[in-house]
């Protein structure tokens, strides 16, 4: 039975047998990757190149419609640097990124250590703690906006009851608190993903190392600092770079809660570029800001890839 089927498959010529030898065999892998590569060139490579190029041209709705975009050299960059909002947005981006990365890594590590142990009901806690990661970002942001509501928001009510504040506060409408209020949402949303990455790393730490350390009497912090962290350092660094990239590119949180306001107090470079581009339709200037962000992210990505390779070599 088996021999007969084998013979029939061998006898029946199949159109794909042209890939078995000769030119067909040499072309085969290229044909397999071709469609994806062509599309990627069209929708990734070309736009990136053309985006960087347009940072050096005067691209506005008017020049777009006339089809005549003059080359302006570095003038878009000069105009960006001359804008006081740009300095404000740069500073805010630094605050935004540092707060997010530090808090998400710290809380993510704490959560991973909590969820690492197998105790009754751990599956329930793990699923619950993944909820912020799973909820669609727009839905999460709008829910937080509602929770921050200045007149009937639950955040205000809870803080009043806890005695932290005396009266309801417009968290998103106050220039002093807007950026930090959005940061809290972003930390809430991003931490579970960091936790997942670190939990996966923790589960690879050999039990024998932990046991040997606790026999030596290392406890608590000392164990964490000298035994656990060195073991997961590569995953930790990968999580840090990823959080950095995701935070720089986090548009939804700021846009849907404050649109960078009030008075640019929560403006980051991403939202600033977006405003240049799609509110003032000064696409050249928007490209200049985007190009600067791009350079920063390429550096971060290069570090990330080096770390991944270090991990695979481990």
């Amino acid at each position: 039975m088996t021999t007969r089927t084998r013979e029939t498959t061998r006898l029946k010529p199949h159109w794909s047998s042209i890939f078995e030898n000769g030119t067909g065999a040499r072309l085969y892998p290229y044909l397999m990757v071709m469609p994806a590569i062509l599309i990627a060139i069209g929708v990734v490579v070309y736009p990136v190149v053309s985006g960087i190029t347009s940072a050096f041209y005067d691209v506005t709705l008017r020049t777009l419609n006339s089809g005549d975009m003059p080359f302006v050299g570095m003038r878009n960059f000069e105009r960006v640097f001359a804008d006081p909002n740009f300095m404000r947005a740069s500073l805010n981006t630094v605050i935004w990124v540092v707060l997010n990365v530090v808090a998400q890594l710290g809380l993510g590590l704490a959560l991973a250590l909590l969820l690492h142990r197998i105790v009754p009901g751990i599956g329930f806690f793990r699923s619950g703690i993944l909820v912020p990661w799973v909820v669609p970002s727009v839905v999460a942001v709008l829910t937080w906006r509602w929770m921050y509501d200045p007149s009937v928001g639950i955040v205000n009510e809870m803080l009043v009851r806890l005695g932290v504040i005396n009266d309801y506060h417009p968290w998103l409408g106050d220039t002093a608190t807007a950026l930090y209020a959005v940061t809290v949402e972003s930390i809430w949303k991003g931490t579970p993903f960091v936790m997942l990455l670190l939990l996966a790393a923790l589960q690879l730490v050999p039990k024998s190392i932990l046991e040997a350390a606790s026999m030596d009497g290392a406890s608590g912090w000392r164990m964490l600092w000298h035994v656990i962290l060195p073991q997961i350092r590569v995953s930790f660094a990968i999580a840090a770079v990823l959080t950095f990239i995701l935070t720089v590119n986090n548009f939804n949180a700021i846009w849907l809660m404050t649109e960078g306001g009030p008075l640019n107090s929560s403006e980051i470079l991403f939202t600033l570029a977006y405003k240049y581009g799609f509110q003032r339709f000064d696409l050249g200037r928007a490209s200049a800001v985007a190009t600067m962000l791009f350079v920063g992210l390429v550096i971060a990505t290069t570090i990330y890839l080096k770390l991944i390779q270090a991990k695979e070599a481990d």
Binding site: H14, S16, S17, F19, E20, Y28, P29, Y30, M32, V33, P35, A36, I37, I39, A40, V43, V44, P47, G51, S54, L64, L114, L115, V119, F125, G128, I129, L130, P132, V134, V135, P136, V138, L142, T143, W144, W146, S151, V152, I154, L196, L197, G217, L242, T243, I245, V248, F251, L256, F270, A273, Y274, F278, V289, A290, L293, L297, A300, Y304, L305
Partner: protein, 298 residues
């Protein structure tokens, strides 16, 4: 202070520490652990609970001050209002159409590319996967502007079809990268056996390897679905008219300049999140494994 006394001191410290640790009863440590777990659980789940609770309240209770943690009376009025409006179904159909198209196209394109990158040696077989990973990291704001210019030029602004290539730029590189990872895990021996049985290379791939890699393909497809369903930035920039809106866009459109119907908005949030949550908890194992395998989107 001499070195010997300080060493003695640390040694004593350490012994008292271990003594103290031994003296801490197990139930106290377990109680602390569970207290921590519950605190984290409540912090993570509360906003989600609050969304559902708000969506089930009557209008006057939503705007009552102070807000109560547990709704006094439960009503489905917000859901009725939401689902009765023709808009909602339009948005949902738009989202569904986009999600299905982008998923089918990117899975079809990435399945062969991922396989070839995992199995075959050819010019660029080392560089291309890395390039794919880079493609994933490009800031969307940089892509936004050329896309806008191109779509305007082609007359595809404000069209769902125009969004498909835009979304492919966002999903395809990640898909290829993940597929490559999954195919690399399928043992070589299976393919060799199929080839010995007289299969051509293509048949070995199509009939033997592809079915083996099905869990991976399902995971990648789910990733694309979730991200396309949730996408907001590109849709909000390129979709101008109300009838072409996707669900996240429709939701954000419910925010009014002066007043917002939060009950209906939260009901919309629940309905938008529901399919994602269902898919996720159904396929949790695969997806979380995908994160370990090198997923790069949060």
């Amino acid at each position: 202070m001499s070195t010997s006394s300080s060493t003695r001191e640390t040694a004593r410290d350490r012994s008292t520490a271990s003594l103290r640790r031994r003296r801490t009863p197990k139930w106290v440590r377990m109680a602390l652990l569970y207290a921590g777990l519950w605190a984290a659980f409540i912090w993570c789940v509360f906003p989600f609970y609050w969304m559902i609770a708000t969506s089930l309240r009557a209008k006057d209770e939503i705007f009552a001050r102070p807000p109560s943690i547990v709704p006094h009376a439960i009503t489905l009025q917000n859901y009725v209002d939401l689902l009765i409006g023709a808009q909602f179904w339009r948005f949902a159909l738009n989202s569904l159409f986009l999600t299905l198209s982008v998923t089918v196209i990117s899975v079809l394109l990435s399945v062969t590319a991922g396989y070839a990158m995992a199995r075959h040696r050819f010019k660029g077989s080392v560089m291309l996967p890395l390039f794919m990973l880079y493609g994933q990291m490009f800031p969307p704001v940089l892509l936004l502007i050329p896309f806008y210019i191109q779509l305007k030029f082609l007359g595809w602004l404000d069209s769902l079809y125009g969004l498909i290539p835009v979304y492919l730029s966002y999903m395809l590189p990640l898909c290829v990268w993940l597929m490559r990872g999954f195919f690399a895990q399928v043992p070589h021996s299976l393919e060799d056996a199929a080839r010995l049985d007289g299969c051509t290379r293509w048949q070995a791939f199509w009939r033997v390897i592809l079915p083996m890699a099905r869990p991976g393909i399902v995971a990648v497809a789910t990733w694309v679905m979730i991200h396309t369903w949730n996408e907001f930035l590109y849709a909000s920039t390129f979709i101008l008219s109300e009838r072409n809106r996707t669900l996240p866009l429709g939701l954000s459109g419910l925010i009014g300049q002066y007043t917002t119907d939060w009950g209906m908005l939260m009901a919309g949030g629940v309905v938008t999140a529901a399919p994602i949550l269902l898919i996720f908890f159904f396929l949790q194992k695969h997806l979380v494994a995908g994160v370990g395998g090198g997923a790069v989107k949060g």
